[in-house]
Symmetry: C2
Subunit: 278 residues, 2 copies
């Protein structure tokens, strides 16, 4: 019938700056890195030295093509912060089945702040054009135990806690929600996280995900993802297409998806329980 309600324009300019190697400072100022530092500092007071360290992070930007694996090289203590673009952490089974463990958005850190990274079969993959910056200085500061970086260490712990909560959400989605609920719940998560990163308005955000990627995240088949999205459109909960998502009925979405799970807000001021709903 009509033209396909495309979700993905992987090379769309919205999702990544140009190679950026030439103008690192612009990239730094514009998005993911700033989101990260402001998020960290909202988690607790940071000393001047700590802020200084954060400021120095964006210095070695690097671009990754969609579909590329990230971090295969500097495995030991490697950590990179996503400046622009989307990535995911995934695992592939022996027969090719893939499960996406979580999505990694601008301002998120790859490689886990707190670990030397263990060979467990997970891998990081760029979903769009991706720009990352070296964050190994952060890891060093945090794991050093240097009291000068205590605030940073604490902030990193809170960040890890948030990430864990997101993973719990993912488990609940996969284990006990229907396809319809899963999709809505994931959209709510993405919206909340992107808002936190300053990349979403009140009711709209760019989402460069293929239905294929969505299916591997939500544990569904591509076909069923397609049909679920259509149902969601028909129900006028979301307006999805062209790599863009607009929320049409937030309250209903939250109710249907049982959105009472994570507390995302850094200051924990935003209460989000069942109590606040009709």
């Amino acid at each position: 019938m009509s033209r396909p309600q495309t979700l993905a324009y992987l090379n769309d300019a919205r999702f990544a700056q140009p190679p950026a190697r030439t103008t690192p400072r612009v990239v730094v100022a514009s998005s993911g890195l700033h989101a990260f530092t402001s998020r960290l500092s909202s988690l607790g007071k940071l000393s001047g030295e700590e802020v200084e360290l954060l400021r120095g992070l964006g210095r070695f930007p690097r671009s990754h093509a969609p579909g590329t694996e990230i971090g295969a090289e500097a495995t030991p203590g490697m950590a990179r912060i996503v400046v622009a673009g989307w990535a995911c952490r995934q695992r592939v089974l022996g027969d090719g089945r893939r499960q996406i463990l979580n999505f990694i958005l601008p301002g998120d850190v790859i490689g886990k702040l707190e670990r030397p990274e263990l060979p467990c079969g997970d891998s990081f993959v760029a979903l769009t054009q991706l720009v990352t910056a070296d964050a190994s200085a952060l890891v060093k500061a945090i794991t050093s135990g240097d009291p000068a970086y205590r605030g940073l260490a604490r902030a990193a712990r809170l960040l890890a806690q948030h990430e864990t909560a997101l993973m719990h959400d993912q488990i609940v989605r996969l284990g006990r929600q229907t396809a319809y609920e899963r999709m809505l719940h994931l959209m709510l998560e993405l919206h909340a996280r992107l808002q936190l990163a300053g990349l979403a308005s009140e009711d709209e955000f760019a989402m460069p995900l293929t239905q294929d990627v969505l299916s591997d995240c939500l544990g569904l088949s591509v076909v069923h993802v397609n049909r679920t999205l259509q149902q969601i459109r028909r129900d006028r909960l979301l307006h999805i297409g062209a790599g863009q998502v607009r929320i049409l009925d937030l309250t209903l979405m939250q109710t249907v998806a049982d959105w009472s799970l994570v507390a995302i807000a850094p200051n924990a001021n935003v209460s989000r329980g069942r109590a606040s709903m009709a």
Copy 2:
């Protein structure tokens, strides 16, 4: 036909010492606490002071009845270490659906070493008679940033990393494995973890889980868990019953369940990839 192949004897003496308030030292010496300390020290060198702190942990044991929620009281910085018995972390949806996020075995810590705990709807529930001990001293030591406890902090990070890997396993199970595979994979995980805690032999371990509990962990219905278990018995992969599990064909189990996921061994000597299988 024959008598039911019972999995659960929740009050079975094997799964928890008597109240233990009277003989704390015995409990301490016997199981979960020792497993925890030896696990931590295998993760890296600990100073005398740190070992001393660990030694002092078992001092305020406490017993929880099956089905009881744990930690509702001392929420702020609470942390308890499981000395004996099984528990789980779960989340309940608005309409009553339950998802178990992970199982907590002797030697595991409740309340997350590294966090002030956030109100995110998760709760800890005792699955058997449970004995826990106060571990808030550990949390204090780790979050203090005191350089005297650097080794402890590092060990805790590695522990958290392991826990994260287990959660990734859970996501993959729920998202991309069949009921049959999920069950086998979970059994392999439990076996490995119990072995690490000294609570399982080469091919056998006690498992005090109801089929109902298993279903809420694996995202299945009770009925289907029952049928899946029967199939596994017929295929002579596992001998399950009376709260006891015996592994009959480890290699086949690992192949079927795609057991190549977490590296559990504390010293990371145990390679466990697809490569090592037929």
